[in-house]
């Protein structure tokens, strides 16, 4: 459902190779974890997938649609939750949600239903009529999450989603991710929290210095390196310079 082929990106006119020829594929029904230390190139990769950055080379397909050939159609298939949820502060939460629903052409009935569900799930019903400027970091994250789920995207992309959430919301988010995959959609998220990846991901890729250094199911990874190691040890071993 999500396919990257030889994607590269450098900053500062080629001085920093943030992402260096990575390829990966996320299948329907999968939760895919994108792991790597700080500065490995996770955010850069995700920004290229969702169209915030243009890849220098390589191709990115979402549901078979190349995102540089038909960006609008590609964007319709997915949704994105950034690591830093900066949203229009002057809008009320509900206005932001309606804006997102409008641009993704979600009907009135569908959006009402989706809002009902996710606002309840993330405990945001009471705050949704307040301006976003009055929200805490976690609340902003939750309003962005809700906005990203309204159009029921095929490919759900999240950058460090579990960092600022309270335990209950984090648990609920993981449930939502699981449920989407059971429905045949897919989830792609970056993290540096290894326990989470180990628990909920069907497959993971480890990126370091812009290159993918390992990829596969948890079992495959453990087979790669000496058997029966925790993901943490694998990670530490692989990313050692």
């Amino acid at each position: 459902m999500l396919k990257l082929e030889n994607v590269s990106k450098s900053y500062d006119n080629g001085k920093t190779n943030a992402v260096d020829g990575i390829s990966l594929e996320v299948n329907a029904g999968e939760i895919f974890g994108f792991l790597g230390p700080n500065g490995a190139g996770k955010t850069t990769t995700i920004k290229m997938i969702v169209g915030l950055l243009k890849a220098d080379s390589g191709s990115i397909r979402i549901n078979g649609i190349n995102n540089s050939v038909d960006p609008i159609k590609a964007k319709m298939q997915m949704s994105y939750v950034p690591d830093n949820p900066e949203v229009f502060e002057k809008l009320k939460g509900i206005e932001y949600l309606n804006f997102m629903a409008d641009v993704y052409s979600v009907s009135k009935e569908d959006r009402t239903q989706a809002m009902e569900r996710y606002l309840d799930l993330f405990d945001m019903k009471k705050a949704v009529n307040d301006p976003i400027s009055s929200y805490s970091h976690g609340m902003r994250q939750k309003i962005v999450l809700t906005g990203a789920l309204l159009h029921d995207p095929q490919v759900f992309i999240l950058d460090e989603p579990l960092v600022g959430l309270d335990p209950k919301s984090a648990f609920n988010l993981k449930e939502v991710m699981r449920e989407r995959c059971d429905q045949g959609k897919c989830v792609f998220f970056s993290t540096h929290v290894l326990e989470v990846a180990e628990k909920i991901c069907d497959r993971v890729a480890i990126i370091d210095n812009g290159k993918i250094i390992a990829q596969g199911t948890m079992e495959e990874l453990k087979g790669d390196v000496n058997s029966h190691e925790s993901l943490e040890n694998i990670f530490l071993e692989l990313t050692e310079r």
Binding site: V87, A101, K108, N129
Partner: protein, 548 residues
């Protein structure tokens, strides 16, 4: 003391952005355009400054003839103090109540007095930008008569200390008022009010100057000044007499040794007392209030969000978002919306205010040259549209939230139309605010009004769409204070020049063709060119890479 010095340095650097400018100078030469523009702005003020110096000279001459040359100091020092007080009120607000650095400072192991003092010294240094240009010429003018070592020393100390008392008053007043206002949630309102107050004062001063200059017959400025200075109730004299520190300062400068030193000590002591008062107020009212304000728990409204829910098309959603952002941010509201009323008001009221005779002359001109008038009105509309920053900051205003604009699946025409509408609404309102009064004042025919309205609106399209194009091409998204998205955005300037160029071009063509072509032809030409240009700009916008 060391702590205060260190803090002052850090704050100064943060305020003036020395480090940032230096960094940009080293890394990115393109960003140096802004400083260059500032230099240009300063240069353009030089003629006005020259005028100030020559007025100062002739005032000094008049005072000399009256045998009261010492009064020049009382006048200028009290005038400067008044200015400092005025800007100080606003500046105290923004330094102590709107800036975000307090949160970063308060948890550091610093004494509260140090923070307040450092901030206060920062404000004083900022005020030197006003004080020194205004007072330095005074020093020079009077030097020939009063010059000497003591004079020089006293003048420099006086100049450096003159902001202290008015700034202290401003701080004490603002902090005492703010004690009773719970500013959380009202910051925007307070900002809006103070912006309008400032505008009111500036307009008032403008009016006063206008009146003064119009009651002065050319060639007899000297006599006018003499009369003004001799009249004990004229503003300058009242001002000079009623502000004791200015009198002490003036005595310190023109009297002989002992009494000069005595007056100077009086001035320094007064400054010290006020300074201490301000710091004490800051500690006992401001800091205390700062810690208390967080106690006021914000309650959620809990209104049912489902009522009034409806779905819009993408361009409607983008338009609404654009408009809400402007209407709910005071600084945007002020720069984009309030000018819609203010510019017509100034344009129409000011001339008619100064004398009723003009109205008839213009009305008569209109009767004779209706066609010229129509064209002039259209040009005026284009120019006014070009000065409005709404279109040319549409992406910049979103700042760090702009990823949403990039990420959403909106087609280019939807983005373009969505962002054109609000600037167009503002343009329509501006035009109405000009046309409706003119219909009454000049007996403008409805035909002229309608014609200039329609053609003027279409002719504003290229400028407005150019604003959107240029801001899509190079938006200013890295800001922490929304003010920067508008006030420090070069796109506003570019789009203004584009509009002026377009108006000039169409004006030039009209003049060339005026005698040979019919007015109808000219208007159609303007319409066609405007539409073609807008189409061209739109096709460029479609090719733009909206990825920042």
């Amino acid at each position: 003391m060391k702590e205060i010095m260190m803090l002052t340095k850090v704050l100064l650097n943060a305020n003036f952005g020395f480090s940032q400018t230096l960094y940009q100078f080293k890394t990115n030469r393109k960003k140096m355009l802004m400083p260059v523009l500032i230099v240009l702005a300063v240069v353009s003020l030089l003629p006005a400054y020259y005028l100030y110096i020559s007025i100062l000279d002739s005032v000094y001459m008049q005072l000399f003839l009256l045998g009261q040359e010492g009064a020049i100091f009382a006048m200028t020092f009290s005038g400067v103090a008044l200015m400092v007080l005025f800007f100080g009120l606003i500046y105290v607000m923004s330094t102590f109540y709107f800036s975000k650095d307090m949160e970063q400072l308060l948890y550091l192991p610093l004494k509260e007095e140090s923070i307040i003092t450092a901030k206060f010294i920062n404000m004083i240094i900022y005020e030197y930008l006003i004080v020194i240009p205004f007072l330095a010429p005074v020093f020079v003018t009077a030097y020939a008569d009063m010059g000497g070592l003591l004079y020089t020393i006293n003048f420099i100390i006086g100049m450096l200390l003159v902001p202290v008392i008015p700034l202290s008053i401003a701080a004490i007043v603002v902090m005492s008022i703010m004690k009773f206002i719970n500013i959380s949630g009202k910051k925007d309102l307070i900002r809006t009010i103070s912006l309008f107050l400032m505008l009111g004062v500036i307009l008032g001063v403008q009016l006063l100057i206008n009146q003064a200059t119009s009651s002065m017959t050319p060639g007899s400025e000297g006599e006018y000044l003499a009369a003004l200075l001799r009249n004990p109730n004229s503003l300058v004299n009242v001002l000079g007499r009623s502000y004791p520190p200015a009198i002490w300062m003036s005595k310190a400068l023109y009297q002989e040794n002992i009494s000069a030193v005595f007056s100077m000590i009086l001035f320094i002591a007064a400054s010290a007392v006020f300074f201490a008062g301000a710091i004490f107020t800051g500690k006992s009212i401001y800091i205390k209030g700062y810690f208390n304000k967080n106690d006021a728990k914000k309650k959620t409204t809990g209104v049912d969000y489902r009522k009034g829910m409806k779905s819009d098309s993408t361009w409607e959603a983008i338009f609404k978002n654009d408009m809400r952002l402007v209407m709910r941010t005071p600084i945007y509201m002020f720069n984009c919306v309030s000018v819609v009323v203010l510019i017509p008001l100034l344009l129409i009221l000011m001339p008619f205010f100064s004398g009723g005779g003009d109205v008839n002359i213009i009305a008569q001109l209109y009767g004779e040259f209706k066609n010229v008038f129509t064209l002039v009105l259209i040009g005026l509309f284009v120019l006014i549209g070009a000065t409005n920053p709404t279109a040319s900051t549409t992406f910049s205003r979103e700042g760090k939230s702009s990823w949403i604009t990039v990420m959403i699946p909106a087609k280019r025409p939807e983005i373009f139309i969505g962002r054109m509408i609000f600037p167009l609404i503002l343009q329509v309102i501006t035009m109405l605010f000009i046309l409706v009064p003119l219909i009454f004042l000049l007996k403008l025919s409805l035909f002229t009004a309608l014609l200039s309205f329609i053609v003027g609106l279409v002719a504003s399209l290229p400028t407005i769409s150019f604003g959107i194009l240029i801001d899509g091409y190079r938006p200013k998204l890295e800001w922490d204070d929304p003010q920067k998205a508008v006030k420090q955005n070069l796109n506003v300037v570019f789009s203004m020049f584009a509009g002026m160029g377009f108006a000039a071009l169409m004006g030039f063509i009209s003049i060339l063709l005026f005698n040979t072509a019919r007015i109808g032809f000219l208007l159609v030409l303007i319409l066609v060119v405007s539409i073609l240009l807008t189409a061209l700009i739109f096709s460029m916008f479609k090719k733009l890479r909206l990825q920042w």
